[in-house]
Symmetry: C2
Subunit: 131 residues, 2 copies
DNA sequence: AATCTATATAGACATAATACCTATAGAGGT
DNA sequence: ACCTCTATAGGTATTATGTCTATATAGATT
């Protein structure tokens, strides 16, 4: 039901929801930027650590998120043209972004509790062997 | 940042995402219907057990999900006009719905792992006291 | 009789999110 | 010249989401 498509086209799996890629990407980006300032391309290399795979990691999606974070004042960037290679943006987190990261962590903790509760009930009905 | 609005209007909190109400509602409805057949209104009474509050529990949303589940063949319903009161639909889960429930459980388990991983990294940066 | 409340379901609508696809451009190698 | 890697940006169609409103029955209250 949740198998990957072999045709390259989306199968529109109805259970794919629950945690959309983009929204979860934002706290991941903020956490990475809390640890170190980085370019978009750097961040793309690091996001697999948070469970993003090749399919869910569209570069356009990452850059769009970074632009949105900057619009919201959660990160700031400046062009970095020094060291050869194409011009790149260096992003860093703002104080506001750090506050938002804390809010995200609380929120994610709550959602995890909800999932725990769901899985507990599921296990009670079907037996824990299913998980 | 995630505080409730006192004006009654949505504040558009940017960290409210990560687990949209509607999509998570579907596995909850399927699990409830696995335990017992029920009317939409019954299900609305039970959904708070899964962390839905008054604000996130719009009846229209519940009925929309039930219709969608039926469109997808995951539940079936028939009108129940016997015992007085307005006509009501009695929903029951189908075999296909049960399979989808299993897929959901696996998916939710995976997402929980992702959240655990995030919170672990968060704790490593800020200290576990923040959670 | 009229009104109110609880039960019960359904649909409309605007905005936001999501996935997917394509475009642009510099640097370095073959 | 061509290809690949690095690096960023934008478009678009579809779906999701939240919110609001409409409909209707039954029973209790005034």
């Amino acid at each position: 039901m949740c198998e990957e498509s072999t045709s390259g086209k989306s199968t529109g799996c109805h259970c794919a929801g629950g945690m959309p890629v983009e929204r979860f990407m934002q706290p991941c980006l903020l956490l990475l930027l809390k640890q170190r300032s980085a370019h978009g391309y750097d961040l793309i290399q690091s996001l697999p650590e948070f469970g993003f795979n090749e399919k869910s990691l569209d570069p356009g999606t990452v850059y769009r998120n970074l632009r949105r974070l900057e619009e919201d004042g959660l990160v700031i960037s400046h062009w970095d043209v020094g060291d050869g290679g194409p011009a790149k943006r260096l992003y860093r987190i703002t104080d506001e972004g750090e506050e938002m990261l804390h809010a995200w962590a609380i929120h994610i903790g709550q959602q995890r509790k909800r999932m725990d509760n769901f899985l507990e009930r599921y296990g009670a009905v079907f037996g824990t062997g299913k998980l």
